[in-house]
């Protein structure tokens, strides 16, 4: 067993996922490719969303990939950091908003 869970070299092997199930792999990569094509949102906007989401799901591969992708597209570090704060705000807010549930419960049970 290797000593670390993540190896940067594995990112390049992502496509190999299809080897053990070609049909589903192909469907996924097809979908993935389409998602990132320009539509109502530009490719640039999609890249920033992907960067923010990768921080929310804390995927080091995606963070690596979409930081590089952002640089290539001319996205500035200020834009990247703002996108991250949006992700962090939603993440924090999502925890906090459940506080209402806690408050409801306390209010119901407490005298």
């Amino acid at each position: 067993m290797q000593k670390t869970y993540y190896d940067p070299a594995d990112l390049k092997k992502f496509g190999k996922i299809s080897e053990w199930n070609e049909e589903l792999g192909a469907k996924f990569f097809d979908y993935y490719g389409k998602v990132f094509e320009e539509g109502a949102l530009t490719e640039r906007e999609k890249s920033l969303i992907a960067l923010a989401v990768s921080h929310t799901i804390q995927c080091p591969y995606c963070i690596d990939a979409y930081t590089g992708d952002g640089l290539q597209r001319g996205i500035t570090k200020e834009e990247m950091m703002e996108a991250l704060h949006v992700a962090a705000a939603i993440r924090g807010g999502a925890s906090l908003v459940h506080g209402v549930q806690m408050m409801n419960k306390v209010n119901k049970l407490d005298m």
């Binding site: 320009e38 640039r44 992708d69 640089l71 290539q72 001319g74 500035t76 200020e78």
Partner: protein, 350 residues
């Protein structure tokens, strides 16, 4: 202001040292395939020169800027300048070849004391596309250059200018403090005389090259982003954006090594190798002339001191029959021209 590698007496100022690094690498991950091996896979080796279409003349390495990525290692401390005598030899060739494009580069070509004379003489030769690669800031650097937009217009010059980003921070980091503001000012001056305006024939194109150890993104979508940003913030217009890959030579190579990005960058270039780009690399229809009149397959080979593989070595001996069909001289830096959508002085090649 940083100094050129030359002035700093850096080991990398020596082209032999650069070629050594490119060929032998500083590689831990294994050996990179040679460019020759790579293009042999699709039977493209040796790559042969076709008929001359673009004559690129480097009129000197002197520049008012010292950009951190400069493959020429240009700067105010570089004194190599083309003489009028060599210019006359170039003019003779321009008049006698079927080349449709003349491309003046440097350094800042405008700093050559014979620049205006040369443009005036060359523009009489009836070249279809007469390009001057202007770094923009030279236009505002000194009063004596302020009329350059008018001068370019008079001779119907096609202006091609570098602009690494539409934000001040990124541009100044790569090209020097204050470059962004001066470039915006110069672009406004060019627009004011008609350059780059949507319906105007006076062509103004911008060159984008990445401000770090990464490849450029899609040229068309970058152009859209540049146009939107420059129009919204400064009401600036231009025609096309050329996306250019930084080649791992000279000051960019120095940066790659110092920032410990060299190995990964070379791998990224090889990984992005696109066999479809090989047929369109610019050396197949271009000839590059150095300030002292020697001939090279491209500006990069010129900086690496890799002269053309032909009996004809100097512009004064120019001979189309001997130069056409010559084998192009290639090394590992050529991966930069064939990565992704390919890269040339005219942007991506696919």
């Amino acid at each position: 202001m940083i100094k050129s590698l030359h002035k700093r007496e850096s080991a990398l100022a020596n082209s032999k040292r650069q070629l050594e690094i490119l060929s032998n690498g500083i590689f831990q991950k294994g050996v990179l395939p040679t460019f020759k091996e790579k293009i042999s896979e699709t039977n493209e080796f040796p790559l042969k020169a076709k008929k001359l279409e673009i004559l690129q003349i480097n009129v000197g390495y002197m520049c008012n800027q010292v950009c951190s990525h400069c493959h020429v290692d240009a700067g105010p401390d570089r004194k190599e300048i083309m003489t009028r005598e060599t210019m006359i030899q170039c003019l003779n060739v321009i008049k006698n070849t079927g080349a449709h494009t003349l491309d003046l580069t440097g350094g800042a070509p405008e700093m050559n004391p014979n620049f205006r004379w040369f443009v005036e003489e060359a523009s009489k030769a009836g070249i279809k596309d007469f390009i001057v690669r202007s770094n923009l800031t030279i236009i505002t650097a000194n009063k004596k250059y302020n009329d350059l937009p008018e001068f370019f217009k008079k001779h119907n010059v096609h202006v091609v200018s570098s602009m690494p980003h539409w934000t001040r921070g990124k541009t100044d980091k790569q090209r020097g403090y204050g470059v962004f503001n001066a470039s915006i000012e110069a672009l406004k001056m060019l627009n004011a005389v008609g350059y780059g305006m949507p319906e105007n024939k006076l062509r103004l194109d911008l060159v984008y090259n990445p401000s770090g150890a990464f490849l450029p993104s899609n040229q068309k979508s970058m152009e859209k982003d540049f146009k939107k940003a420059l129009l919204e913030a400064f009401n600036i217009h231009f025609h096309n954006l050329f996306a250019i890959t930084n080649l791992p030579i000279s000051r960019f190579l120095d940066y790659l090594i110092a920032s410990e990005n060299y190995e990964d960058y070379m791998y990224a270039l090889v990984e992005a190798y696109n066999p479809a780009a090989v047929a369109n690399v610019m050396c197949t229809n271009t000839l590059s002339v150095s300030w002292d009149g020697y001939l090279y397959d491209c500006d990069f080979n010129q900086m690496l001191q890799l002269p053309v593989n032909s009996k004809v070595k100097h512009i004064s001996d120019y001979n189309e029959d001997l130069l056409e069909g010559r084998n192009i001289v290639m090394s590992q830096h050529c991966y930069g021209c064939t990565a992704g959508a390919g890269s040339s002085c005219q942007g991506s090649v696919i």
